[in-house]
Point group: C2
Chain length 172, copies 2
Amino acid sequence: MITTIETSQHEALMIKTQINAWQNQVNKINELLLLLSDEKLMREIAPGRNRGVYILGHLVAVNDNIFPLLNLGKKLHPQLEEIFISNPDKKVTELPSISLLKSNWNNVNENLLSSFNSLTPGQWLSRHMNISDEAFIKENHRNKLNILITRTNHLSYHLGQLTLLKNAESVL
Amino acid sequence: MITTIETSQHEALMIKTQINAWQNQVNKINELLLLLSDEKLMREIAPGRNRGVYILGHLVAVNDNIFPLLNLGKKLHPQLEEIFISNPDKKVTELPSISLLKSNWNNVNENLLSSFNSLTPGQWLSRHMNISDEAFIKENHRNKLNILITRTNHLSYHLGQLTLLKNAESVL
């Protein structure tokens, strides 16, 4: 039975390591947001590209979608999907305020972290809600852990873009 | 003993899921590189920021450093560190050619993938080479798996930047 306990500890450590990596990306974005004024967040990350505010809203909406995807409950801010996922930047002219988006961002991430910590290793390896039981038998890598990993990468992808707003020259 | 086998399978699946996520990021960068001409790679991702060629070299150098960090052997292209990690873009004026960098990129990633697949789950949870045995006792999340996760995020971070070169307006 010692082997069983050891391997079970291994699983828990693997999950802990991945949740830490997720939280590190969230923390890095939080640190960056402290450095970016609302005026900077209204700028494009590069000429003709997405504005900071759109990327922020997009990250909230994509993270919010993790709740139903991992069977953790409903989205907290479902109205954001239409603005920040279904449509590209500048298509929707009336955006939520930056302070509201930041509040939503914190709300979603705090609730996600608490939910993440409540799942067992076995639950992390069960199917996510976008794949059927039948299909999952053949594709067991399409599990909840895989969602956590890909959504962590999604945060990094956009962090690499948002960081371009730091020390950006004023266009004014 | 059935429990032992199941948990061992869980560990293997967790590692497989993470290696898949790594390879997905490598593949996405490969697909992007097919779309970017050498002329585009010589451009800055945003005004005053790193050029595409620098980010490519930086990714090769950082990935190459995974070999010693995971105790998998020596770097394949140690000369890249000085140009693409120790110095910022435009500091070193004589860069390797883009075709050579692409060849190094493929070489490093192919060898890494094969090495990754050779490690057991227990080895993935052992310390990486930048932390001592003593310190690792207290900080067991600083393991080889954590390096794989953070380096996968590193690829995503710069993929988010490199993608800005796609359809970029010509400066000529």
